[in-house]
Symmetry: C2
Subunit: 317 residues, 2 copies
């Protein structure tokens, strides 16, 4: 494979920074764009001395800066991970996810078309499906999102579909599950650790703790992205990745308390079947399409959670 000039949007974020690490390891030159809204400079501090890594603090909603960057850097590909990845933050606001997840994507696609950049990776989400007990294959319908996060990711997918089917682009979409690991900037483990820091006597858990999802360790996710990227055999290819098994919020709370709480930490549940309106309490992913390409997660869901707690505590949060 030829080395490429790659733009990683959201590259200073949790998953984006791991993406930069791995794309650099493969010999690519990276432009890491981040507005540092959720991303953190310290996630990429170890990369900033490298000559093949360029950090650009910019916002994808700033179209003129984006056009100038594309004109200057002559990208071969874009890994578009920038987003409001904090689902609960968007539950009351019709515009937050629309702007940060969808309109950023439209701006990226416009810039790609204008500068003839053909290859795109897009970080989508299981939230596009909404709430269903069915096993979710990539071609499953109907898609009935219950959060603006899910709606905006679905909308972004739709625009990427047009880009791939009408403008000769090639796009790989991976619908991320819940991903855990060091450098997380939010999410359930992060929240629990923060809460324990403030009050070691009690950990309050939103919902009844029975929400249960297939957590994936971030390194397994990056493997999934690169497997899909290398082996996708259609101009528009969608994949699911998830950890094997699933882990309840109650189990996560117990793991976090065991690692960071004290002997007397009580776990208290607020009740209700979900953490917030728009939270999908459980889902099940069919990952056979990506497995058929050779991807297999190294860690089961609960192992991924346990390892993430250790690594986050070791790295600071």
């Amino acid at each position: 494979m030829d080395y490429m000039r790659i733009l990683v949007t959201g590259g200073a974020g949790f998953i984006g920074s791991h993406m930069c690490d791995r794309l650099l390891q493969r010999g690519n030159t990276i432009w890491c764009l981040d507005n540092l809204r959720l991303g953190r400079r310290r996630n990429i501090a170890h990369l900033e001395i490298r000559p093949d890594f360029h950090f650009i603090e910019s916002d994808l909603l700033n179209e003129s800066e984006l056009r100038a960057l594309f004109a200057d850097a002559r990208f071969d590909a874009v890994f578009h991970l920038a987003a409001n990845s904090d689902i609960s933050a968007g539950t009351k606001d019709f515009r937050l996810d629309l702007d940060l997840n969808q309109l950023t994507t439209v701006n990226v696609l416009e810039a790609m078309k204008a500068h003839d950049v053909k290859r795109l990776f897009f970080a989508s989400s299981s939230a596009v499906f909404g709430e269903t007990d069915e096993l979710l294959h990539e071609d499953f319908g109907p898609l009935l999102p219950i959060s603006f996060y899910g709606a905006s990711k679905l909308a972004a997918e739709a625009y990427i579909s047009v880009f791939a089917h009408t403008f000769g682009g090639r796009a790989v979409v991976l619908r991320f599950p819940n991903v855990v690991g060091e450098r997380a900037t939010h999410g359930v483990i992060y929240d629990f650790l923060r809460k324990l820091e403030a009050n070691r006597a009690e950990l309050q858990v939103l919902g009844d703790g029975m929400q249960s999802k297939p957590y994936l360790y971030v390194s397994d996710l990056i493997d999934a992205v690169l497997t899909a990227w290398d082996k996708a055999d259609a101009p528009y290819a969608v994949y699911h990745a998830a950890g094997i098994g699933s882990t309840s919020v109650r189990e996560i709370a117990e793991i976090v308390v065991a690692a960071a709480g004290g002997a007397g930490t009580r776990i208290v549940f607020t009740g209700g079947d979900r953490g917030w309106p728009g939270d999908v309490p459980r889902f099940r992913y069919d990952i056979s399409r990506l497995q058929a390409l050779g991807w297999h997660p190294a860690r089961h869901s609960t192992d991924a959670v346990r390892h993430a707690v250790e690594r986050i505590l070791a790295n600071g949060f």
Copy 2:
């Protein structure tokens, strides 16, 4: 059924004006909002003397006007038909359909939430599916639009799903097929009549004429909308309606030439399997869900086309 105070967006357009007619016949009071971009004042001229009909020339992208209207009129329901319904117009522009189809919808949803309006009808489209030979049930996946029109309608559906599933709204979505009838402001019949008016010797047809779709007469469509509206039994309900059978563009050209051409009019095809990039050359709809609610189209597809040509010629275009 209680009479309602209903906002019809795009109410001066082709389908919107028929929607106003029928909702008024049922005893409702109508606020018809249109920016007159595609809509025409003459489509509603026969309604403007009625005390139960109010025309508002405004653009849904003007949020302050929209809020003021909602505050003033205290709607019970919204029939949201405003859109860029001219698919080919949006093929080169990433923003046209995004603004006119999706962001207008987001504005309507925000206004509905702010003013506690719970009931919505939304005019979606078969274009959400993209290109497939499968029989399209409402729950079919994957949805891979190939036009910004299709992408923007899918995105709008996604936001409406959140509205219905999270904010206690009730939404009925009908994915329109190709609809024909008097007051059309664009579309294949309208285009052919315009072309013949300019040059009676030759009718140029985009593509090879083999594109074939299930055309629906506008009165059958309005019946479908009202059947779905009256009988939908879920907070978020999606339906398909289409004419029985399908009609090729070649057949439409022949019908139009027979009605409005001359003995010597030649039909010339530009070639290629579609009229423009983003045009879906054929699709097949499963309409059993709406039929189970009692809806049946009065006209088969080719009858609908033939009747539409007659009515458009009689009414002027």
